[in-house]
């Protein structure tokens, strides 16, 4: 039983990393205005649990920051973590996956990720860190929009494209995943009580 569960986690998490990096590579070689490197994270967060998405997101960011960007781009992990938490927690209603919640999760993710991503870029270099983002940033700047808001706009456009692809792929991937490889019922037993009162 334990081995079965372990196998399920290993397979889905591996698939998530491959999906993240594969889609990122496709977006890169076709020069698409998107990153597409969070689909696998959301997939694992929904199929298994948010913590699995958090681990996959870390591995993806680790690879990207070493192979593609600078080492300090690991801080974009905050955006990936946001994705895993939002999709992993919002798409579960009483423990079961509810696709009706997908649009709401997507909208919240786009807005929050755009602001967070822009804030991190501003902290790191003061400028957007990818070609398409820079183009959208310069486009926004021609309308005299302030720097930070232009960065939010640029990140928001790319995140919208990311999320659109994710919203199409997520239900399909979940559907084609064999039952044995997904947690059809998963609930985090979290409360909003004060964390300082021990049980």
């Amino acid at each position: 039983m334990k081995n079965k569960s372990l196998r399920k986690y290993i397979v889905i998490m591996l698939a998530g990393v491959i999906l993240n990096l594969g889609l990122y590579w496709l977006a890169h070689i076709f020069h698409l205005p998107a990153w597409l490197d969070t689909t696998g994270t959301a997939f694992a967060a929904v199929t298994l649990e948010p913590a699995a998405g958090l681990v996959i997101g870390y591995l993806t960011n680790l690879f990207e920051s070493n192979a593609v960007y600078a080492s300090n781009s690991i801080v974009y992990y905050a955006v990936t973590a946001l994705c895993a938490l939002l999709f992993g927690l919002m798409l579960r209603k009483k423990g079961a996956v509810s696709w009706k919640r997908l649009p709401a999760a997507a909208v919240i993710y786009i807005i929050a990720a755009a602001f967070l991503s822009a804030a991190i870029s501003l902290w790191r270099t003061g400028l957007p860190n990818s070609g398409w983002e820079l183009r959208f940033f310069e486009f926004a700047r021609t309308y005299n929009i302030p720097v930070y808001l232009s960065m939010v706009f640029a990140a928001g456009v790319l995140k919208t494209a990311d999320t659109a692809v994710m919203c199409v792929l997520l239900p399909v991937l979940y559907k084609i995943t064999p039952r044995d490889y997904k947690n059809e019922y998963y609930k985090e037993n979290l409360t909003w009580k004060s964390p300082f009162k021990e049980k």
Partner: protein, 246 residues
């Protein structure tokens, strides 16, 4: 999954081999991560690589601790996740990591030594010493207050009595009083008058007592903690023996 991760990191339910391996691994990584600080000038690619890899591992450890903090607090509240980044150890962890990632100005590079706080988190001896400081905090504070008061008074006396050439500023007097009280005595600042020399002699004698006092308190407390741990371990062994007999 989170519960299992928590068990590996903290050994909440049972302390098994995985906890010990994890603890040792993180301690080694923490020590290795400060190794590049021992070299001046441009670092070789090996050292740069070592620092990057170790920082990534420490960052991952930080993330794992964050996502399992509700288990650590034994209270599954969402607010536990908001509390974690503001805990003293988490603050020190993240401050130790950020300079290497270039996310803090170069003057903050010294903060990388905070990674060694990890050793305190994992080492049993460090935990014991922390417990001693916690339990003896009142006594240690009183000794500290006496020491600070004595430093201040003797510095003031020297600053007023000694010629300005020897003690140009009050900070110099404070520096002198501290080095004398702790019996370090660099000798770069010294009294020239008879009165100053008498104060210096008294300071040196008092310094031995004031410095020896906290050392004794900490040693006694450490031995107490050690005995407590040994007694607990004996109790656990007895229980295990009884279970085996049954």
């Amino acid at each position: 999954m989170r519960e299992q991760i928590c068990n590996i990191i903290y050994g909440q339910k049972t302390r098994g081999r995985s906890n010990v391996y994890y603890d040792w691994f993180i301690m080694l990584v923490a020590v290795a991560s400060v190794a590049p600080m021992m070299f001046r000038g441009d670092l070789s690619p090996w050292l740069k690589g070592l620092e990057s890899i170790t920082v990534y591992i420490l960052f991952f450890d930080y993330v794992l601790r964050w996502i399992t903090h509700d288990f650590r607090m034994k209270n599954h509240s969402v607010l536990a996740f908001f509390v974690y980044p503001f805990t003293p150890l988490a603050i020190m962890d993240i401050i130790g990591i950020l300079p290497t990632l270039g996310l803090l100005p170069p003057s903050f590079m010294i903060l990388r030594v905070l990674r060694l706080v990890k050793l305190a988190q994992y080492s049993q001896s460090c935990r014991r010493i922390m417990n001693v400081f916690r339990s003896q905090s009142k006594t240690l504070c009183s000794v500290l207050i006496i020491a600070v008061a004595y430093i201040f008074i003797s510095a003031l006396v020297m600053f007023v009595h000694e010629p300005a050439d020897n003690f140009p500023t009050f900070f110099d007097a404070l520096y002198w009083a501290t080095t004398v009280l702790t019996t370090v005595g660099y000798g770069d600042i010294y009294p020239a008058t008879q009165m100053g020399r008498i104060i210096s002699m008294v300071s040196s004698l008092l310094g031995i007592a004031v410095i020896a006092m906290p050392a004794g308190i900490v040693t006694a407390g450490f031995m107490e903690e050690l005995n407590k741990d040994l007694a607990e371990r004996d109790k656990d062994d007895d229980k295990e023996g009884e279970n085996d007999e049954e």
